[in-house]
């Protein structure tokens, strides 16, 4: 009977049977989707109320069309009132500064939501100033921006002597959009359209987040397990019948399997939900189609290897800790390379084929982060994949060797926290 398997079995069963695991597995997806959906809902739900606007029109030509331009169909309140009624303020040949001071007062006391100052030169000026108490409501600003453009552009065209219907002018004045089409290594079209790009980005960062969260949550779980075995003193009994290496591998694999179980439950729930909501299924299908098998395989591969690397690191750090306070400090040591890896992955996303990205792919603590992103954005050459996997494997061998050493010595050390000098000395012990 394999002893490593027995360690694995205990780690797995003890954790999976815990109530906290059950609860987290069941409500985890709800929490996660809640975290993503609720802020979105809150941002989009502006209160149903009138936002009184004022306009000072120095050109004297734009103001009258604005109320109609701002209050498009979706900017009517439920009771039919306009969301953005416009009061045109007459300059009456007076002083602009005085008038603005007056309006500032009205903004401050709330009788006006905000006001616009339209410049004299409509043809050349690109900016129009908007004064308000709240300038972070993106929904309002978008409505104003669209309204101003829709009113101003036809005016400019007409003043330049072009006689056309407003709609046609707007049609012709539309900005050009770039339609990205990705060509694969084999010269074939791989993906096209903005949606594909968004999906790629979302997949890359989604995968990175899953990887990072796994490291942080389950890596810490490994650490805590090691510290508990040390503080409950059970470790000496264990080490009399299994080797430090068996204990280490059993633990890392067992806890990895717990994480996998949770993800499989979530994935299963996701697939069920996918079929249940068949209306959105088509859309999702289209998006998923752009995901190549290659991306998924690469993700799983780097995920597993990266997990092994960081799991051994966390196990070693756990073996160095003698108390919960130590553990928190050592935990940060494990988190730093992961955070740096996350930051580097942002670079790799926009520059997947630079020398820097290639080099970073070969540094084991960063390899999984950089390569997960690179493979999902643009297939890197095979030799780079091979070399990065090789360097990660070497990293894992070295890391588990170091971890087993520290584990073997450190796990019997209690009392005072070891210094780095001491930890390095342990590595030289037989």
């Amino acid at each position: 009977m394999n002893k490593g398997y027995e360690i694995f079995r205990r780690e797995y069963l003890e954790r999976v049977r815990k109530k906290s695991f059950l609860i987290l597995t069941l409500i985890g997806p709800l929490l996660l989707s809640g975290m993503m959906v609720i802020p979105q809902l809150l941002i989009n739900s502006s209160p149903d109320r009138v936002q009184q606007l004022a306009v000072i029109d120095l050109s004297g030509r734009l103001a009258e069309g604005l109320e109609e331009a701002f209050n498009t169909a979706d900017n009517h309140l439920k009771d039919g009132r306009l969301r953005y009624p416009v009061e045109v303020v007459d300059l009456r040949g007076g002083d602009l500064e005085v008038l603005q001071e007056e309006l500032n007062q009205r903004v401050a006391d709330g009788s006006v939501y905000g006001y616009l100052v339209i410049p004299e030169d409509l043809a050349g000026e690109k900016k129009i100033a908007f004064y308000a108490r709240n300038i972070s409501n993106l929904r309002d600003q978008q409505a104003l921006r669209n309204g101003l453009s829709n009113a101003l552009i036809p005016l400019r065209f007409r003043e330049a002597g072009l006689d056309m219907e407003t709609d046609e002018i707007l049609q012709r004045a539309r900005r050009v959009r770039l339609h990205p089409v990705q060509i694969g290594e084999d010269g074939q079209v791989e993906a096209s359209g903005r949606m594909a790009q968004v999906v790629k980005m979302a997949t890359a960062y989604g995968m990175l987040m899953i990887f990072y969260m796994t490291l942080m949550l389950w890596g810490v779980s490994i650490m805590r397990g090691v510290v508990e075995e040390k503080s409950s003193k059970v470790v000496e009994v264990l080490l009399s019948s299994v080797t430090a290496r068996q204990l280490l591998f059993g633990k890392v694999l067992g806890i990895g399997a717990v994480a996998m179980t949770q993800y499989l439950v979530w994935a299963g729930a996701g697939i069920l939900g996918y079929f249940a909501l068949s209306s959105s299924a088509l859309e999702l299908q289209g998006a998923l189609a752009t995901l190549s098998v290659w991306t998924v395989v690469a993700f799983l591969g780097y995920f597993v290897l990266g997990y092994f690397f960081y799991a051994s690191l966390f196990a070693a750090l756990g073996a160095c800790s003698t108390s919960d306070e130590d553990m928190q400090q050592f935990q940060q040591i494990g988190a730093i390379p992961a955070i740096v890896g996350m930051l580097l992955s942002f670079y790799a996303f926009t520059n997947p084929d630079t020398t820097w990205s290639t080099v970073l792919s070969m540094i084991p603590p960063f390899t999984p982060f950089v390569m997960i992103v690179r493979t999902s954005v643009m297939a890197p050459p095979l030799w780079e994949v091979g070399l990065s996997v090789l360097s990660l494997l070497i990293g894992i061998v070295v890391m588990t060797w170091v971890a087993a050493k520290i584990f073997r010595i450190g796990i019997l050390m209690t009392g005072k926290k070891p210094t780095f000098k001491e930890i390095f000395r342990w590595l030289r012990y037989a």
Partner: protein, 298 residues
């Protein structure tokens, strides 16, 4: 066959030399006591035998071979620092520990029931370890040590923390194990226990072997007479040169006589100045030898 054959093993922790080159030869079926004061290096020695610590130098053979996976399963180890998973159920922690010693669950289940019965822990079978009292956890740990029917049982301070009734229970089980031909190594600094149980001993102090061999032979070579006496009145006679050392226990005084001194002479001397209520010539106890040797080497 020698179950344990350690040659020249030593271990340092930084500047501190915990165990200096040490030989340990333990034949099959022996009850072997590893004795020494606190901090003598007993636990470090045992950890080296158990391959938990690697010796800096020297070699260790168990059952005639270097330490390996097969040997591990033939050893039961009760560490000084006791510990079990506090949140696991009694029966589960036992079957887990049996399993990592190579005993399949189907085989260990009936054994677990037998041992829990024996230790009067049956009703705790399905309880979590942390719900048990300290003494019960100790007994549980002992069950875990012998559950896989090891040929060599290594016990580091097995009696510490047990009440007299459980000490007795434990002692009976240890005797059964020796009668079944198992080899027993235990460390202690309580000499009375060692004296009752051990066939052979090794006395270490400050990481150095002071004395080893069969207990009976050691006692023979240390057969300088000791006297236990009780008296009323003047105790000045105890300052006489024939008294090498005296331990006053209040109720009686234990006297180690000097080389070549005659107990009869001490008796005459004592009777002349005090009223003697007890006078008994005894062999030195292991405790005497222990104190004498430790003091001599300190």
């Amino acid at each position: 066959m020698n179950v344990v054959e350690a040659r020249g093993i030593c271990k340092s922790f930084g500047e501190h030399q915990a165990v200096q080159p040490l030989d340990l030869i333990i034949p099959e079926g022996t009850v072997y006591g590893l004795l020494g004061p606190n901090g003598a290096g007993k636990t470090t020695t045992i950890r080296m035998l158990m391959d938990i610590l690697a010796p800096d130098e020297g070699s260790i053979h168990l059952f005639g071979k270097p330490m390996g996976p097969q040997a591990r399963d033939r050893i039961g180890y009760l560490p000084e620092e006791r510990g079990l998973y506090p949140k696991m159920k009694v029966v589960e922690v036992l079957s887990f520990l049996a399993a990592i010693h190579g005993v399949p669950r189907a085989v260990s289940r009936p054994r677990i029931d037998h041992w829990l019965e024996r230790m009067e822990l049956s009703e705790w079978r399905e309880k979590k370890v942390q719900e048990l009292s300290k003494g019960m956890q100790q007994k549980l740990q002992f069950v875990a040590t012998v559950l896989h029917d090891p040929d060599l049982v290594v016990l580091d301070e097995p009696f510490s923390g047990l009440d007299p009734i459980n000490v007795n229970l434990m002692k009976d089980i240890l005797l059964e194990l020796t009668r079944a031909g198992k080899t027993l190594i235990f460390s202690t600094h309580i000499m009375e226990q060692a004296e009752k149980l051990c066939e052979s001993i090794c006395l270490i102090n400050k990481g150095r072997k002071v004395l080893d061999g069969k207990l009976a032979e050691i006692k023979k070579t240390y057969s300088k007479n000791s006297v236990i006496l009780s008296y009323e009145g003047n105790g000045d006679f105890l300052e006489h040169p024939s008294v090498a050392r005296k331990d006053d226990y209040g109720q009686y005084v234990e006297v180690a006589l000097a080389e070549g001194a005659d107990p009869q002479e001490l008796l005459r001397l004592a009777a002349s100045s005090a009223r003697i209520t007890r006078f008994e010539v005894v062999r030195p106890t292991l405790n005497d030898i222990f104190i004498q040797q430790v003091e001599a080497t300190s």
